[in-house]
Amino acid sequence: MGRKKKKQMKPWCWYCNRDFDDEKILIQHQKAKHFKCHICHKKLYTGPGLAIHCMQVHKETIDGVPNAIPGRVDIELEIYGMEGIPEKDMQERRRTLEQKSQESQKKKQNNQEDSDEEDDDDEAGPSFQHPAAAQPQAAYTAPMGQPGMPPVAGAPGMPPGGYQGMPPMMPGVPPMMHGMPPAMPGMPPGMMPMGGMMPPMMPGMPGMPPGMPPHMAPRPGMPPMAQPPAAGAMPSRPAAPAAQPAVTKPLFPSAAQMGSDTPSSSAAVSSPPADPQSASSQPPYFNTPQAQQSASGTAASSSHSTAASTDPPKATFPAYTQPSASSSSSSSSSSSNPSSSTVAKPPATVTSKPATLTTSSATSKLIHPDEDISLEERKAQLPRYQRLIPRAGQAHPAAPPVAAVGGMMPPQQGMPPQQPGMRHPMHGQYGAPPQGMPSYMPGGMPPYGQGPPMVPPYQGGPPMGMRPPVMSPAGRY
């Protein structure tokens, strides 16, 4: 590398001391993190540019570069990528990098690495060679001892990995979080931020970042680091791997080997895993021709809501983030609406009476009866299906001679049951065939025996379109 501008190893951000694989990524980072207008989110190119923009457009003054470490907040310094960095700071960084690499060489470098995802480390510097295993390296804890740090530290590192579900990215991170003393050489991404964030930490800190780069830099082209959300995700990350346990009995050993392809056990990846709810809310997937997107599929067929939007970085829960479509009707078991019309798009009221569902919303309509009982239970409540139970034992009327079989006792002709008539064994019973189930003669059929009063004048079965509110909320069965 002959360019004097380039830091001895890799491009790094002067504002927050983070390392990057590539200057292009560095610039993207700066634009998104440091040169972004907090009012309109427009990304400028330099600090002064941002200041001018805010003044002219929003009539506001900016006193410092956003997200910069103390000491590096000067908004007047025109820094773009690696250009414009004061020589003094360059040298200081070089020094700390060297220091750090020495440290890391001395200390054990084994388990550090970030699992997989370890980007090839072209580092001249030593250290961090192997991807940090991301195990909380206890050894290093000592130096740092900043309990508070980890969380912060982790954040910056997280984003890149977090996104697009790059499994490799994350792995190291979570473990890091647990107070991994930044000093760890090869401390995965987490470390880096620390270095940046906590000047106090310094001693070994500055040295660390350099090591970070490998971890940090996600694949080029990813809008990495830029995403603050990652920070949020961080904390939960640890949970993810931890949740892995798979400690369960050997019961389903095969299941445990499931993701044999993922390099490390904890290929954490993106967002809030631990939470079961969210775990399920992965992108709907099952895309139809369109929506191929990146790895994450997304866009389930016919999901108008998700089809749109879902930019990869946030693609993790398209299914459930869409307020429209499903989730709307999803407030399951809330909403009241004492029966009344069901399907017909009633304005889903509220009240919240258990045992009913919200069946409709502005954008979607759940074709299901209001009560939160299964379709079979509902159907079984119909008078026409209840008259039979009491007659258990007798060849119930409907089982006409035709049907060769009959109830529990296999008395009859255990023989070729098939008779031409087989087709209509039931007939007499129900009177009217399927259509117009009117005549049900409820006649107070004792329900299936348990209690649910059931009964009431049901007339007009389901087909009648559920008119009668009478759908007897009563009981199951």
Binding site: Q244, A246, L251, F252, S254, A255, A256, M258, T262, P273, P276, A279, S280, Q282, F286, T288, A300, S301, S302, S303, S305, A325, S326, S329, S330, S332, S360, S361, T363, K365, L366, H368, D372, S374, L375, E377, K379, A380, L388, I389, H396, A403, V405, M408, G414, M415, P416, Q418, P420, M422, H424, M426, P434, Q435, M437, Q450, P462, P463, M464, G465
Partner: protein, 366 residues
């Protein structure tokens, strides 16, 4: 093994008088319609296991009967036999050797139907309708597992009137599936419990539901080593969750997808969301089929996370489905369940899906 005497009872399998003109929405896929279908909605279907030659299809219906058809290679179906309960039949299953069929009914009993002798005897009793029935064949025991709306899961040795074991569930059983050594039961109030069946059945884990709506159907899938590794769970809200029991990365491996919804691309009209009535996995390819109250069935590839195919819309909801033991035949039942106002014919259709076609479907992401 020839079953019971053949019969010529071929009645017309209920063709639909149909309002629609050109497209026969009663059988838009031009699949083979089974002869002598039951007279009321079909609640469950089951094909015979590979231990028996030929394909025999069992269907239980709300007309209290269980019917058996032989499905021939040319797709023609021959009604073979039937048995009755005193209440609607909710679930059926075969024994592993194909000699017995077990049936579960709203009359709170389950029966074992010996096909050779065409006799059926009661083998189980619950305090409420029995919603699911499965045969368990373990190295050291065999039994029937019944899940009921009385909130219990019972295991029966068919020779004794008392259950071998009875497990309490938090809520009514809505659906279940068994692939030894794993069993999954989904209950009301979105309960989800996994049981392990080695040595003796015991509760393995209660899982927080990945779905936000009432559970409706569940099917276990296997991994490449043919061991059960997870399940697909369907809800009334047109959504299926794929859930692995011990994935290396739950957040990434488990996911849900939407299905059985009316065309929602036009945001002006609200999207109609239908219940997923049944899920069935192809025994060879591992792809899954879902059928819903919207009257369609779809095939999906859960590993590639893509939809393979969706059928045309039938005029009635599809209430049950099943693959035969080698995956060449897919049977689905179209019948009134609740949502369709028009109550009409209850018919059973069989779709020939030979292996080539299916793998072709697998390749194309429709």
């Amino acid at each position: 093994m020839s079953l019971f005497g053949t019969s010529a009872g071929f009645g017309t399998g209920g063709t639909g008088v149909f309002g629609s003109t050109t497209t026969d929405s009663h059988n838009p896929m031009k699949d083979v319609e089974v002869t002598s279908p039951p007279d009321d909605s079909i609640s469950c279907l089951a094909f015979s296991p590979p231990t028996m030659p030929g394909n025999f299809l069992i269907g239980g219906s709300w007309a209290n009967d269980v019917r058996c058809w032989e499905v021939q290679d040319n797709g023609q179906t021959v009604p073979k036999a039937q048995q009755m309960h005193t209440g609607p039949v909710l679930d059926v299953c075969w024994s592993d050797d194909g000699s017995k069929v077990f049936t579960a009914s709203c009359d709170k009993t389950a029966k074992m139907w010996d096909l050779n002798s065409n006799q059926a005897m009661q083998i189980a009793q619950h305090d409420g309708p029995i919603k699911s029935i499965h045969w368990i064949k373990a190295p050291n025991y065999s039994c029937i597992m019944t899940g009921s709306w009385d909130k219990t899961l019972k295991f029966w040795d068919t020779r004794s009137p008392n259950p071998m074991m009875s497990l309490q569930m938090p809520e009514r059983c809505y659906c279940a599936d068994v692939v030894y050594p794993m069993a999954v039961v989904a209950t009301a109030e979105r309960g989800l419990i996994v049981y392990q069946l080695e040595n003796q059945p015991s509760e393995f884990r209660r899982i927080d539901s990945p779905l936000k709506h009432q559970h409706r159907c569940v099917a276990i899938f296997k991994d490449k080593q043919n061991k059960p590794t997870g399940f697909a769970l369907g809800s009334i809200e047109g959504r299926v969750a794929i859930h692995y029991i011990n994935p290396p990365n739950p957040a990434k491996d488990n996911f849900t997808f939407k299905c059985h919804r009316s065309n929602g691309t036009n945001t002006a009209t609200p999207q109609d969301i239908y219940a997923v009535n049944a899920i069935s996995f192809h025994p060879v390819h591992g792809t899954l089929a879902t059928v819903g109250s919207d009257g369609r069935f779809s095939f999906w590839d859960k590993d590639a996370r893509t939809k393979l195919k969706t059928s045309e819309q039938l005029d009635q909801p599809i209430t049950a489905c099943c693959f035969n033991n080698n995956g060449n035949i897919f049977a689905y039942a179209s019948s009134y369940d609740w949502s369709k106002v028009r109550v009409r014919l209850y018919s059973l259709l069989c779709a020939e899906r030979d292996k080539n076609t299916l793998s072709e479907i697998n390749k194309t992401t429709s």
